[in-house]
Symmetry: C2
Subunit: 244 residues, 2 copies
């Protein structure tokens, strides 16, 4: 099983993910928030690239029948119901609902993965569930770091490295430099996940914006057991560790 890691959004194209199990990571915060929303009973999450596309979807589906979630510059989008903090996505707010989701980095990455065979949403929160799913699916793996505004993000790269360690069956060097570097970066920070998430650029930005509790939440390994999968434009729970 070949594993590749793409550290930045413009490094990969549809050929790089074709036929793979693509794992899209946006630790701060889209992938953590999607994991949280589905755990808390959202019916489905529909990722879209822009707020305007979210509006179009809502117009067709009926505005009252969907929840609009996401952010620009980390903040609630005008006219939207929820931002991009996983802590907003409570059972009461989103249980049974369809969420149309327009975050800056993670949502467009998910939308771009069309040529992958499977697209799953990975984070520290659902780490082991993601590893198990990728191993069971048995295909080559492309781990997509969403990054931040097109740039490299430390927290996504360290999470990618942890997934490489979990998924890889080899102890030898990895063929692709991105996967090897992510693995090495995870090894360097192995016991300091929460410090990485607090200390990275985006973590400091979010703490300044009042979202410090999100950092603790997003750094928690295996707090959730769901594997969200994108099928025909909608993200739903594909499987749940330990049953259902």
């Amino acid at each position: 099983m070949n594993i590749k890691v793409f550290a930045t959004p413009r490094e990969w194209n549809e050929d790089d993910v074709r036929g793979t199990t693509a794992i899209v990571i946006d630790v701060l915060r889209a992938s953590s928030t999607i994991v949280q929303a589905l755990t808390n009973g959202a019916r489905e999450v529909v990722p879209v690239s822009t707020p305007a596309e979210a509006g179009e979807f809502a117009a067709k589906a009926g505005r009252a029948d969907v929840i609009l979630g996401g952010e620009r510059e980390g903040k609630l989008i005008e006219g939207f119901d929820l931002g991009n903090s996983p802590l907003e996505y409570t059972k009461e707010r989103i249980g049974g609902r369809t969420i149309v989701f327009a975050s800056t980095n993670g949502a467009p990455a998910l939308v771009r993965c069309k040529s992958a065979e499977h697209v799953i949403v990975g984070s520290f929160n659902n780490f082991s569930a993601t590893v198990n799913a990728a191993r069971e699916l048995g295909r080559d793996v492309a781990i997509i770091c969403s990054g931040r505004n097109g740039k490299f993000s430390m927290e996504d790269f360290v999470c990618a490295g942890k997934l490489v360690e979990g998924i890889s069956k080899s102890n030898g060097p990895l063929d692709q430099d991105g996967a090897q570097a992510a693995l090495d970066m995870f090894r360097y920070y192995r016991s300091q996940i929460v410090e990485v998430v607090r200390g990275c650029f985006h973590g400091r930005f979010l703490a300044d914006a009042g979202f410090a509790p999100d950092l603790e939440h997003c750094a928690r390994v295996d707090s959730h057991q769901v594997v969200p999968a994108l099928i025909e434009g909608k993200i739903k729970i594909q499987r749940q560790n330990g049953g259902s």
Copy 2:
């Protein structure tokens, strides 16, 4: 002094390097080859994005008055005089000559740095000279990893991290995730530079293509003392450690 590292070519644009000292790295092999060529007395190196542009330049300058160097897929380009092995750029071949240089990754990165205040060519070979130049110039630094076909390259990232360690005056965490990650990657591999250069994807590719001696050459720290600088489209020696 702010230091940024861009791990992959499409991660940065002209705004990211504007006003900075940009250091372009392509360990395997463009930046190592340019350092070698200028050390061995080439008059100047003119980086161009494509073989066709090299041909146009040669047509204007007079074909006999220039040397065409570079590679596609690691190999000599049809009609060119030299490939991209630093070992080809001997005093006898290139002393006093103008080299028009079309490599796949490093040359286009150099061409794209127009908005930087200074553009210098960095490698393991001229590590200390590059560090000294960047510190003396005193501007913010943008370290550009050329990568390979748009993708992440381990050897460039480790070299970038070594430059960050040399240039940075702070012991604390760095503001930009790319610079911090490169520095951490260098720390992880500190005493294993030659192993990194041999073991990375591009190193294995070049060894398979018969260029194993290039790897030893390109991994050598401080074998050269020149700082090549790009000024008005031409790379010349800007300064030489210890004089001239």
